[in-house]
């Protein structure tokens, strides 16, 4: 198939434009997808960076104000589980696993929000060490997780 050189120029320009759009947009719209321990490890470099944090709602210290639609809670690491769903006992016992305060303002409380449930928090880590969340999403209920062998 012969295509005259100028078609290469036209086609090439389109391809370049698409490439540039992808490249520039990736840089400005990327969010770090992290677990709670990863946030703790990278705390210093995350200021102002959009992050998505997967963690578990810590029981206690949950406050919901329906008038201002503000939800405050703490997010803790999701414990590792083995294939059978039992918690993995780590050789080194950590004294207190890192957790972060989350403040989600202006959003209704998600349907399935409850202590002990896994959530994904989208937002930014503030200078006070709390995550200012723009969105809190609950993960699917346990039934839709991989089936556990009995």
């Amino acid at each position: 198939m012969k295509i005259r050189p100028r078609f290469f120029i036209g086609g090439g320009l389109i391809v370049l434009a698409i490439g540039y759009l992808i490249f520039s947009s990736i840089r400005t719209t990327s969010e770090y997808y992290l677990t709670v321990p990863e946030v703790a490890a990278r705390e210093s470099e995350l200021g102002g960076q959009a992050i998505r944090v997967a963690g578990r709602v810590k029981p206690g210290n949950i406050a919901w104000d329906p008038n201002s639609l503000t939800l405050k809670f703490e997010i803790a690491p999701i414990p590792d589980v083995d294939a059978a769903g039992a918690p993995v006992v780590k050789p080194v016992i950590e004294s207190d696993p890192a957790s972060f305060r989350v403040v989600a303002a202006g959003e209704p409380k998600p349907d399935m929000f409850a202590p002990g449930r896994d959530v994904i928090v989208e937002g930014k880590l503030g200078p006070d060490g709390a995550i200012a969340a723009t969105q809190v999403m609950t993960s699917c209920p346990s039934k839709y997780k991989p089936k556990q062998s009995q």
Binding site: M1, I3, S25, T28, S30, E31, K109, P141, Y144
Partner: protein, 673 residues
Amino acid sequence: MPQLGNLALAIALILAVYSIVANIYGARRNAPDFIVSARHALWAMCAMVTIAVAVLWAALLRSDFSLEYVAAYSSTTLPTVYKITSLWGGQQGSLLFWTFLLSIFTSIAAFQNRRRNPEIAPYALAVLAGVAIFFLLMLNFVTRPFDLLATIPAEGSDLNPLLQNYWMAIHPPSLYTGYVSATVPFAFGAAALITGKLDDGWIRSTRRWAIFSWFFLTLGNMFGARWAYEVLGWGGYWAWDPVENAAFMPWLVMTAYLHSVMIQERKDMLKIWNLSLIGLAFGLTLFGTFITRSGVISSVHSFTQSGLGPYFLSFLITVTLAYTALLIFRSKQLRSPAEFESYLSREAAFLFNNLMLVGIAFAVFWGTIFPVLSEAVRGVKITVGPPFFNRVNGPLALGLVFLMGVGPLIAWRRTTTSNLVRSFAAPVALGVATGIVAFAAGLRQWYVLTAFSLAAFVLGTVLVEFRRGMNARRHMVSELRAKALVNLVAKNNRRYGGYIIHIGAIIAFVGIVGSSFFRTEVKKSVHVGQSFTIGSYTLRFQGLDEADTPHLESATARVQVLRADGREITVMSPAKLFFKRPQQPATKVAIRSTPLSDLYVVLAGIDDSGQTATFEVFLTPLVFWLWAGGLMMVFGTVIVMWPNVRERAAIATALSRSSADERELIDAAPGGD
């Protein structure tokens, strides 16, 4: 009974293997008996898979919880219609359903080609059987639908409440039909490469299959969007979730393919490109299943994750490598003597439209797999959300819409400047006028102004095309306007059906732009009797009604909607549902849809006293147009697919001539240029 299902799947696998061997042997040794026998084996395979499906359906309807699958995805209280749709509610069932569709389509292709395409058909059927073998291997050994439970539970754990919705009843079958039917043109493309019969025979033989596939991919995407809009309760219909992207990418590539094959049929160009596109479309259907089932990419949608991922990935890699090797092996024969003559030609417009469509597909692919790539390369998972997809695809969509207007009006080969001015004067004027009116009406975003102007320009070009065609008819046969229009579309259904699809796409595009740029949102907690406003509406919370059934508990809010002058328009009833098994809350959205805008009310929370409720309300302009445009696209596709007597006659004549004559014949047909 479950044993019957297992047995049927095992026999189906053996038949599929036999069919490959017999087809290839028959084709190589020129032994027609073997080819007939291979065809019969495929039909028998289809019968076996049908038996397996019937067994599973019967078990679902009888609530036979000795089957693991039935216990996991159904229950005695599940309404019958959802017992039927539970067939594709879980992984094993949906793979069985996929195989079922594949075996039906394979059988139909075998029937259609019992005398046609004697050189490539046996290989195409062998490829189809090969794909069936992969799925049957999965069903027989990896994810078995007829596995039994050691202890039979008294009750099943029910279908996910979010899936108990009529859109979800029809969305997966549509999407699967679109996915699976793309296998047929792929198989014929592969067969053309294997045999070296590289003229456009494989394209012509599977043109209807490609449109059929595109039709169902369109429906599947539309139904999915509609489901998300009505059920998920976030006010939107598309979130660029990996699962949505997986359904969108094959649609984009099939759209590109349907356009570029026209260039090959007319100009004998772009052979490698077309074969690559159909290979890509097929690969993307496998990729879609891979990412939704493997859990490699986290999605908000929940799917049963399983060990199926590596198998799909291996199959995908094998197919890709084999197909690419074939393309390279035949690349010399695929070169075309014809060449592009001018930028101002329809083939150039089609070529650029293809680049845009594949570019969008690539951007979507890149954004979807970016978390995996970034984790592999930089050790940190970086996700890109809707802003990425909107920023990249927004400008590309404008380019695509522009080409949609240009393509149909310029001639094949080259266009003279005077021709250009004559054709485009009216549509350009219409576009500019629309832009000015929109500006005067207060719209200021450059994207919206450009989008609306381009949309009007494209509508103008389509109208010019219809008028041209009608005038030509009335000149020749002196018909009334209405009759001329009907005859024009009926006699040139492929062309004018295509234009109707374009109109639908433009209407949908306007809906997407309007709903993306002008959505307003209000979140408010109110007591009974209090009210709040959104846009020109006032919403008053009148109270809660609670109900309790064996299946679910519900709390329904009564929300009175008032116009600015205080007149009541309607009372809306958004609700919170609490399903009892599995224990899971859900939201029932109330939507009041008008062509101008949708009022979308979500009951986001209630306090224990039942006196205070939190509402999330969206006012979304033009979202109605998206569904209307979708319907129009469906209508246009039906016209394109409608059997055309003249086209059949042309193909029959052409089949007895050489391919060069054939092209002239089609070129000479009225309405062809």
